[in-house]
């Protein structure tokens, strides 16, 4: 509609546009056009690919990987230090997302912290976050990962402390060094929490987009535009003003369906029931 107005070279105030939109609203119809559109638009492939990159890297590197590293490292630290360390990693989770992302922006801005340090060393000034696609991805994953790592860390930490002490003692007198103790005793005991965090975080990453929206907003270009963000953009925040509620809703619906299907696959594949039921040996 707006495009049509532009063609006619009519300029209107937002209020007038609004009124016009209401008048022009044609009511709803049953249609699969939006899904059809989805399959032919090249950008669909792009956001699908982006989503896979986003979820995989954030999940493996941070929500599970880094969380494990944190939990295991703090387990071997003295109690007090471990507590402080864990509390520190909770900060990203409990701070308001807008504030949190703004901090990252300060860090990476043209006149931000990174540049303030690197400039004197002869590194050219740039916006580190949006400079290249790779940079954008690194920061998207970092920003989300720092938030997501805390949940895994807490779950893994408590699971590690729940391992009966004699088991760890036994492995030490049996000759296992730190690494072998982690590899043969601790990690196998964390199987269930690791699966749980993987599944849970995978599903929640699929639908999360607010940090990306606040940081790169899908940029540069649409290289970090993920599925959920695309749904939002199409439905509620189109730069050109032609809000496509229907198409956005269709995108969101696909996401829900993917989530449900994945949940079923996970439930099947990991046989949660069995894991939960498995009797734990008395220690």
């Amino acid at each position: 509609m707006k495009a049509a107005l532009a063609e006619l070279q009519i300029e209107l105030t937002p209020y007038q546009i609004n009124t016009l939109s209401q008048a022009a609203y044609t009511g709803w119809v049953w249609t699969t056009d939006n899904f059809h559109k989805m399959t032919i638009l090249p950008e669909t492939k792009q956001i699908l690919f982006n989503t896979i990159i986003y979820v995989t890297f954030t999940l493996l590197l941070f929500n599970v990987g880094f969380a494990l590293v944190l939990a295991i490292a703090t387990f071997y630290l003295p109690k007090g230090q471990a507590g402080i360390f864990r509390a520190l990693w909770l900060l990203p989770r409990i701070s308001p997302s807008v504030l949190y992302v703004v901090l990252w922006k300060w860090l990476t801005w043209d006149t931000g912290f990174l540049n303030a340090i690197l400039n004197p060393l002869g590194v050219a000034q740039r916006n580190w976050m949006l400079d290249t696609t790779l940079n954008a991805w690194v920061f998207v994953v970092l920003i989300n990962g720092f938030i997501g790592a805390s949940m895994g860390m807490i779950l893994f930490s408590s699971a590690i402390t729940a391992i009966p002490k004699p088991l760890l003692y036994a492995s030490e007198v049996d000759g296992a060094n730190r690494w072998q103790q982690i590899r043969f005793i601790i990690l196998p005991q964390l199987k269930w929490p690791i699966l749980f965090v993987t599944v849970y975080q995978c599903l929640s990453l699929l639908t999360s987009f607010e940090q990306i929206l606040l940081s790169t907003d899908g940029g540069p270009g649409s290289t970090t535009e993920v599925w959920a963000l695309a749904a939002y953009h199409n439905a509620l925040d189109n730069y050109w003003g032609n809000l496509q509620y229907g198409y956005g809703a269709a995108l969101a619906l696909v996401l829900v369906v993917i989530g449900v299907i994945m949940s079923f696959i996970f439930l099947r594949f990991f046989r949660f029931q069995e894991l939960v039921r498995q009797p734990r040996i008395e220690q």
Binding site: A170, R280, I281
Partner: protein, 352 residues
């Protein structure tokens, strides 16, 4: 291998649990570490295997000082009270674990595991998981895992505590058999005196972080150095009577009963003493008769146990074959003691 604790001291924060303990475990012997709950038995064991560090003194394996050697390098086999089997590993993997972490060759591991499984009679269980085993079988697996590495010493922390009575008897002799077959030095921690007496070559009796006496079971039973040791060994337990010494005689119960002081190191006139009388030494046909009233009867099948209350309210115990006619509660009896079988302690509890 001979193991020596030399002035071993252990603190937890401010609390000193063990102060300057000295203990020697001889080559090839099974030494029982016996004592009440909380006296520091596990602490001592955990220090020998390196889980705890010493806060003073030394731990010697042979002539090597291992006080600063980490647990991983001490080559000690430990059977924990809870067995501490790795729940996610099969029996085979559990037993093989000490060899696996040493990166021994697969075939060597298989051979050694098979050999040790044979020794502890669990050859057919190797594929199972710990949770699919009975308590006694778990115990055997734990023992196999401790032994497979040919340890310098075998440590057993209350290994029988979690078993039912019948299994306990069975495992008692099994552990002893395996220890004798492997001729490995071993320490058995227990608070059960029967276990200590029946399984060990020597007993070290502990109280509040201190070793009171180290002796063979028989010697410790017959010649306890103080009333605590005398009271800890023997079931039903020894009974104590107050008495005092007068002109070479021991006077009991307001002088109603008097007999010559046995032995030579006679205390001075008027010294208050305590007599320790074991149930098997208070019997119908003994010379020094002490009258009393039966206050309690316990039938133990082969034997009957009687508590006899004396005139002054103190109690003596007697254990007698149930083949003889059993005596009813409240009956008057006139049983006796044998002076040379009586254990005599001073006021502080030390044996005279």
């Amino acid at each position: 291998m001979e193991i020596i604790l030399e002035d071993f001291t252990k603190r937890f924060g401010e609390v000193t649990v063990i102060e300057k303990m000295n203990l020697k475990i001889r080559e090839g012997e099974l030494l029982a570490l016996l004592g009440p709950s909380g006296c520091g038995k596990s602490t001592t064991l955990f220090t020998i295997c390196g889980i705890h560090r010493v806060d003073g003194g030394r731990v010697l394996f042979g002539d090597q000082d291992v006080s600063r050697v980490p647990a991983q390098q001490r080559n000690v086999g430990v059977v924990f009270q809870s067995y501490a089997l790795y729940p996610h590993m099969s029996v085979f993997e559990n037993i093989a674990f000490p060899l696996t972490v040493r990166k021994e060759h697969k075939n060597t591991i298989r051979e050694k595991v098979a050999e040790i499984a044979e020794l502890v009679h669990i050859g057919e269980l190797l594929k199972r998981r710990p949770e699919q085993l009975s308590g006694g079988q778990q115990q055997r697996v734990a023992l196999a895992r401790a032994l497979v590495r040919k340890p310098s010493i075998l440590l057993l922390d209350e290994p029988l505590a979690n078993l039912d009575a019948k299994l306990r008897l069975e495992m008692r002799s099994e552990i002893r058999r395996i220890q004798l077959e492997t001729r490995i030095s071993a320490v058995l921690v227990t608070h059960d005196q029967v276990e200590a007496m029946s399984m060990s070559d020597r007993i070290a009796i502990m109280k509040e972080g201190e070793i009171l006496q180290v002796a063979s079971p028989t010697e410790m039973y017959q010649q306890p150095i103080n009333d605590f040791v005398a009271g800890f060994l023997g079931n039903p337990p020894i009974a104590f009577l107050d008495a005092h010494v007068q002109e070479g005689e021991i006077h009991l119960l307001n002088r109603k009963i008097q007999f010559n002081f046995p032995g030579s190191s006679m205390p001075t006139n008027g010294t208050k003493i305590r007599l320790g009388i074991r149930p098997e030494h208070y019997q119908p046909n003994n010379p020094i008769q002490i009258p009393g009233t039966i206050s309690f009867v316990e039938t133990q099948g082969r034997e009957n146990l009687y508590d006899v209350m004396l005139d002054d309210g103190s109690i003596l115990r007697s254990i007698q074959s149930s083949a003889t006619e059993s005596i009813e509660k409240s009956a008057q009896v006139l049983w006796g003691i044998q002076p040379d079988k009586v254990l005599i302690f001073d006021q502080a509890g030390n044996r005279i």
